[in-house]
Symmetry: C2
Subunit: 134 residues, 2 copies
DNA sequence: CTGTATCCGTTCGGATACTG
DNA sequence: CAGTATCCGAACGGATACAG
């Protein structure tokens, strides 16, 4: 699990095993929803809990809570509680979180290129690309 | 699990949901051992199954097999069987796998910087950094 | 509105034995 | 040597109910 992996890296760090900078970075965003959350917060600046929930249709209450808690612990996002009634909790991205964006952008690019290479331009036959003008 | 995440992205692609280039990339190396395997193969060129096993002390036979199979399917590595007795199976990194290295390097850098920031220079008190010459 | 606790099916991962 | 199959305990993830 992404959780387990994160725990594992964190534990290794506590034990002085620190030969794992890349795993550490990976653990920051390897959760099933963390990339999307990060990008959304980066683009739009702030979201409340249920707004995020609506943004990520297939995420569960429990799982979203968990992802957000981990990201808060890792200081990728900030959790701000406004003590009104009803309660308001605002999530925003931190500078640390933003510092991950170049990596995430690189992942976008790689993914786009790779998917194009696989000719997964969906709903068109896989051979289309081979016979354009000719 | 990283497996599950990978399956999920793959399924989404098959269904034409392809708004997920970054998740796709993530799924390439999000497995617990894939980063290390990739780096090792990139540095040393080729390894046999049991050599990898020794390199990754805590990995299980079954899990390693699985990680290698997925990476082969994703065309990040190549599996070559030499039909001698006893059997020899060689794993090497592909150009596609190598094309991930810039991203992985960026992850190393980010992780190094972040760990330094956290003052996890292990086995030294967390305050050492604050009182050098003074 | 947010978040926690519980129950419970599903899936993961370790150990072991077996095949080619 | 390399990989598969099986068994089984552990962890995850969904649904629901409850609390602040």
């Amino acid at each position: 699990m992404t959780d387990a992996a994160r725990e594992d890296v964190l534990n290794r760090l506590e034990n002085g095993d620190y030969s794992c900078a890349k795993e550490f970075t990976l653990a920051m965003f390897a959760g099933k929803w963390k990339l999307i959350i990060l990008c959304q917060l980066n683009e739009h600046g702030a979201y409340r809990f249920n707004e995020l929930r609506r943004l990520l249709p297939k995420v569960t209450h429990k799982v979203l809570t968990n992802q957000l808690r981990e990201m808060t612990q890792d200081q990728l996002i900030t959790r701000t509680v406004e003590q009104e009634k009803p309660l308001k909790v605002i999530y925003t991205i931190t500078p640390l979180g933003q510092s991950l964006m170049p990596i995430i952008d690189a992942m976008c690019d790689w993914g786009d290129a790779r998917l194009a290479q696989l000719q997964v331009t969906p709903h068109f036959s896989a051979n289309e690309a081979a016979l354009p003008g000719a």
